[in-house]
């Protein structure tokens, strides 16, 4: 991927401003992180979900797809592919979670059917690539190394 590709995403070509797109990306990833935290997902799965989300919107426009729906589907796929499976029901409940409100059965059923439809959509757009090498593990090793050096010489 070229550096300038990030200024020529489908959304920008459709007339969105660069900053606006960044904001949408941030919102989506924030949602994924919050729900991931509620579901007590490992960091690895959350990272995979975010990567899927970013990939989807480098190929599709924010105008054509609702970003919350895509974020849900990304999280669902990441759960499954990283062997930390959560039921669709659980995602639905924690996604629509509001402190003093219980969602009706109907809303949850609607949510799940949307989720399943979007799951295939996301998978098709990202071409079923679900295994990412996250840099965090190397980063962790690096930090450990640095920590050792610091305690040695510092």
């Amino acid at each position: 991927m070229h550096k300038e590709d990030s200024k020529n995403t489908p959304s920008i070509l459709n007339g969105m401003r660069y900053e606006e797109e960044l904001l949408y990306r941030m919102r989506g990833v924030c949602l994924i992180q919050i729900v991931g935290y509620r579901l007590e997902l490992p960091v690895h799965s959350v990272a995979t979900a975010s990567t899927l989300y970013h990939r989807f919107f480098t190929r599709k426009s924010f105008y054509d797809y609702k970003y919350t729906r895509i974020a849900q589907a990304c999280l669902f796929i990441a759960c499954k592919s990283d062997e930390s499976s959560r039921r669709a029901q659980d995602i639905a409940k924690s996604w629509t979670y509001k402190p003093k409100e219980t969602r009706s059965e109907k809303a949850i059923a609607k949510f799940i059917s949307d989720l399943l439809y979007n799951e295939l959509l996301v998978l098709e757009v990202v071409c079923f690539d679900m295994s990412f090498e996250h840099p965090y593990y190397d980063m962790l090793e690096f930090v450990k190394e640095v920590g050792k050096k610091v305690t040695q010489y510092g």
Partner: protein
């Protein structure tokens, strides 16, 4: 893994402008926005209308397999339909696992996942594989086909090469090996004589750190004794038992240990390989189920059973593969170094 990009068929406006700009600075590659292409241009997925269905070949682990012709290239493909029986959870976990593993493996003796076809309206997903003419089980059951010694050796060598690749492939950042279900029906052979390991529906990535898995994984006839005794740790030596069973099967033309339930299977294993003792299987009495199973004392009979089929080297190799102690079973790379592959008749190139 990033998908390979296809050639840009529609030159964009941007490209032409860039080309004229870069005429005097030839070292800078003109920038073409790749995003402009439609998602169909990314390889990996295609439409169902690209394929013409011919007939149903078989039933896989989680779906039917159809033979189909690719209308674009006129090649024969095998389309495996993923059944969405559990509608509530979307794409089944097994399928996701299989796709993920297959996408990362690339070896001449392992089945290659060409692409995936998604039909969103009908909620159908098809995996596209190259069409293979036979499987090993079918070949051995066919009375018209007699495998010569050279053929046996060639097929077995290919099987070992595929297995070796699997055992040494870092499939996943944190996980080390892949463990697949070895069974004669899963070994596919095409008319060019190439053997490919197929069907990773039950495979899962294995972590050496002692991830514990259920022991209902390998098809019963090819399951090693330690799994019946309740061992939960997965190692690559489990696969090597299966490979040994298939090797014996190549000589005998039928399954060597056809147990009809788990207890019977274990009995047959101990009949062939002798009863477990402290010497041939250390720690066997510490495995969970070892107390509940009664073992008849008997000697090891691997050499005697297969004496009449093959030469000395072959029996020696089989003897080292069908070992009760998983730590002493040969690894795939060691088996490839065995004298069997360096004595007459030598293994030939698959095409011959």
């Amino acid at each position: 893994m990033r998908p390979a990009y296809q050639e840009d068929t529609q030159p964009s406006k941007k490209k032409r402008v860039e080309d004229s700009d870069t005429a005097d600075t030839p070292y800078i590659k003109p920038y073409v926005p790749q995003i402009l292409r439609s998602p169909r241009d990314f390889t990996g997925t295609s439409k169902i209308t690209d394929y013409e269905f011919l007939n149903k070949i078989g039933q896989g682990t989680f779906g039917e397999v159809h033979k189909a012709r690719d209308k674009r290239t006129d090649n024969l493909k095998a389309l495996k339909r993923i059944m969405m029986h559990n509608e509530k959870e979307g794409l089944p976990l097994n399928a996701i696992r299989e796709i993920k593993i297959l996408k990362q493996l690339r070896h001449k003796n392992i089945i290659q996942l060409i692409e995936i076809v998604v039909e969103r309206e009908k909620r159908d997903v098809y995996l596209v594989f190259p069409y293979m003419d036979h499987d090993l089980e079918g070949l051995m059951n066919n009375p018209e086909v007699r495998l010569t010694k050279t053929q046996t050796k060639t097929y077995f060598k290919q099987l070992l090469e595929g297995t070796e690749y699997l055992h040494h492939h870092p499939v996943y950042v944190r996980n080390n090996n892949v463990s697949s279900s070895f069974a004669a029906a899963n070994l596919l052979i095409n008319n060019c004589g190439i053997l490919k390991i197929g069907d990773f529906g039950l495979a899962r990535t294995v972590n050496e750190d002692a991830l514990e898995y259920t022991n209902g994984v390998v098809t019963r006839w090819y399951r090693p004794p330690e799994l019946f005794l309740g061992a939960k740790k997965y190692t690559s030596s489990i696969d090597m038992w299966g490979v040994g069973c298939i090797f014996g099967e190549l000589f005998k033309s039928k399954a060597i240990l056809p147990g009809h339930d788990d207890i019977d299977q274990l009995k047959k294993i101990f009949q062939l390989c002798g009863s477990p003792t402290k010497f041939n299987m250390p720690h066997w009495d510490s495995l969970p189920h070892s107390k509940t199973i009664k073992v008849e004392v008997g000697p090891r009979q691997v050499r005697e059973t297969f004496q009449r089929f093959e030469g000395e080297e072959a029996i020696d190799l089989l003897d080292r593969l069908l070992v009760l102690d998983p730590a002493r079973r040969l690894a795939a790379s060691e088996a490839l170094d065995h004298d069997y592959f360096y004595t007459e008749p030598l293994p030939i190139k698959p095409s011959e």
